[in-house]
């Protein structure tokens, strides 16, 4: 029995449109035109307890709308949602007691209060028992290294510090589910690593189910076994990272460093395509099903003074960029569409 079931979710927003200029403003007083924007169009998926799922898509694809519906904020036009056996927007107060949410763009702490007082207030809001609160708080302070931040008011925290505190705030009441909307946005490299580490730990040790939306593909690669791709309100792909990759391209990249002192020529091979050159470093794309990797490497090593070389998968960014690009012309590569019945 999956923990989260989403079926045929549809959500349309009405946006007031106004013709530009003075005339537009005047006519707008008398008659408002509304444009309908379909944010979610038959979205379906299901997620089991303990999964860590990445939810990605270009801006305006419907990621945040989905997360807002799942966290009880928005009511969809139609469709069914069942999370831990409940419908989020019905019995909202009881429901949100059992989930945790972090929205990267915004803090859930109180600007004027020191961090520790924010935590105490959350204890009262979520009615956490004193023993449980103490244990949970101390553990989070330990793991997120918040000890020096506790007496500082939230407004004075740096973004990275604030995000760590926000994560702690979302977890104090021991939620079974965690919705993270761009939790690493704007963070420096070190803070990103710390946040990722915590998410991984939570998922592994406490078995918390996590849905993570992000634009940072490193987050996805570091954390998520399963990735949902949404674009224009439809789920384009649902599967593991490897599936996602395979669905777009079989391509591999071979990077070749030429030896010092050798004349810089171009590196070329009939079965591979040069996609990038930086000084003595050449990057070639090839299809491992057309040409065997050892043969390609041997051929290149014979022809050129090679200092070093390695084979890798194209970075997930370029895969995702290709998926987004294909949304205008789907079907070209036979994406593993799931639940998305286009009519």
């Amino acid at each position: 029995m999956p923990q989260i079931v989403v079926e045929n979710l549809i959500k349309t927003f009405r946006i007031a449109a106004r013709a530009p200029g003075l005339w537009g403003s005047l006519t707008g007083l008398l008659k408002r035109d509304f444009r309908e924007v379909r944010a979610l169009d038959h979205v379906s998926f299901s997620i089991s307890r303990g999964e860590l799922v990445g939810y990605i898509g270009p801006n305006g694809a419907g990621k945040s709308t989905t997360v807002k519906i799942l966290s009880g904020i928005l009511v969809p036009d139609s469709g069914r949602v069942s999370v831990i056996g409940r419908t989020p927007w019905v019995d909202r107060i009881d429901y949100v007691r059992r989930i945790g949410t972090v929205f990267g763009q915004r803090t859930q702490l109180w600007w004027d209060l020191p961090v520790i007082e924010s935590f105490d207030l959350l204890r009262d809001i979520y009615a956490i028992s004193p023993d449980k609160y103490r244990a949970s708080r101390d553990e989070l302070i330990e793991v997120l290294e918040l000890r020096e931040l506790l007496d500082i008011t939230v407004r004075q925290l740096s973004l990275g510090q604030r995000m760590r505190c926000d994560l702690a705030a979302a977890l104090l009441h021991g939620p079974e589910l965690l919705f993270l909307d761009e939790p690493t946005i704007g963070l420096d490299a070190e803070s990103k690593l710390a946040v990722r580490e915590l998410i991984r730990k939570l998922n592994k040790q406490r078995g918390v189910t996590v849905i993570l939306t992000t634009h940072d593909m490193d987050d996805i690669e570091a954390l998520c076994r399963r990735v949902l791709v949404i674009s224009d309100g439809r789920i384009l792909s649902d599967g593991t990272l490897q599936d996602l990759r395979a669905s777009v391209t079989r391509e591999r990249w071979l990077t070749v460093d030429l030896a010092e002192g050798a004349p810089i020529a171009t590196v070329a091979d009939p079965d591979a395509q040069l996609i990038r050159q930086e000084g003595r470093r050449f990057c070639l794309a090839f299809d491992p099903q057309q040409t065997s990797v050892p043969e390609l490497i041997a051929r290149i090593a014979r022809k050129y003074p090679v200092h070093d070389l390695f084979v890798e998968n194209p970075p997930i960014e370029s895969i995702v960029a290709q998926i987004y690009a294909q949304r205008a012309a789907p079907a070209a590569h036979g994406i593993t569409a799931s639940g998305d019945s286009k009519t």
């Binding site: 927003f13 807002k68 966290s71 904020i73 928005l74 009511v75 949100v96 009262d124 979520y126």
Partner: protein, 263 residues
């Protein structure tokens, strides 16, 4: 209840930090109180007809009004206003809190903290130097306290109602301009309500606003007999319940709008 009491307490303590604003307020309110008392002093000296209140009573009424000014000077909750304008209000829904109760708790602390910081010093200064009389009896003092609590709750319910209107009007400037002079005038803050002409009294008596200022002050002066006292408290608390229920109803509709349109 507990979460809302915790929020109320925390916000009350936070707001107590704004001491400079309180100090400025005390200065202004003492000055204007002084001017108003002098005006009434002039009136009373120049007229010989019967007065609804004695000069001592008017003076006391005015000083109480200067001390409790914030009970009738109501405006929308500025923090909530920003949240509504930016759409962040949606995120408030991820907390296991009833939004009306949350805003009500905020409104109570938002009134109570600055009010007590201004009222207590003015009360002391006016009591010692400026002829603010003591309550007419111990019973009057007790009833004054009870109706003061009622006035605070009523003020909070009005603040929340004004705040809720932002879900439709967004800016809040309009509702403030519209509501605040009405409340100010009909609470008794500008002219003590007993001095209004007879034909207006019946309307003033029905409106909720007199319960913010006039009702507690009349208890203080001891001007109610038993029936009038019961009626006054009843008037106050019936209005509190009515406005709270009304606010809840409107908020539910507003939130439906929010849930449909998004943050």
């Amino acid at each position: 209840m507990k979460p809302y009491v915790a929020i109320l307490r925390s916000r009350f303590l936070t707001l107590l930090q704004y001491r400079a604003a309180a100090l400025a307020g005390i200065g202004t309110q003492l000055f204007f109180g002084f001017v108003r008392v002098m005006i009434y002093d002039g009136f009373y000296r120049s007229s010989s007809g019967p007065h609804p209140l004695t000069l001592d009573q008017v003076t006391t009424y005015i000083w109480l009004g200067q001390a409790m000014l914030l009970l009738a000077m109501l405006d929308v909750d500025k923090d909530v206003a920003v949240m509504i304008r930016t759409g962040n209000i949606a995120y408030e829904m991820t907390r296991p809190l009833d939004l009306y109760n949350l805003w009500f708790a905020r409104a109570v602390s938002g009134r109570a903290a600055p009010l007590s910081m201004r009222a207590i010093p003015i009360f002391v200064v006016a009591g010692i130097f400026l002829e603010l009389q003591k309550p007419s009896s111990a019973g009057a003092a007790a009833l004054f306290a009870v109706s003061l609590v009622g006035a605070l709750l009523l003020a909070a319910s009005l603040v929340v109602l004004m705040t809720i209107s932002l879900l439709w009007t967004v800016s809040g400037e309009g509702i403030y301009r519209l509501a605040s002079p009405l409340i100010f005038f009909f609470s008794g803050l500008v002219i003590p309500l007993p001095m209004f002409p007879d034909w207006m009294q019946q309307w003033i008596a029905v409106l909720p606003f007199r319960a913010l200022i006039d009702t507690p002050f009349r208890f203080y002066l001891g001007s109610f007999n038993t029936t009038a006292a019961v009626m006054a408290l009843l008037h106050q608390y019936v209005w509190i319940v009515t406005l709270v229920l009304l606010g809840r109803l409107i908020l539910t509709r507003g939130l439906r709008l929010l849930a449909v349109q998004g943050g």
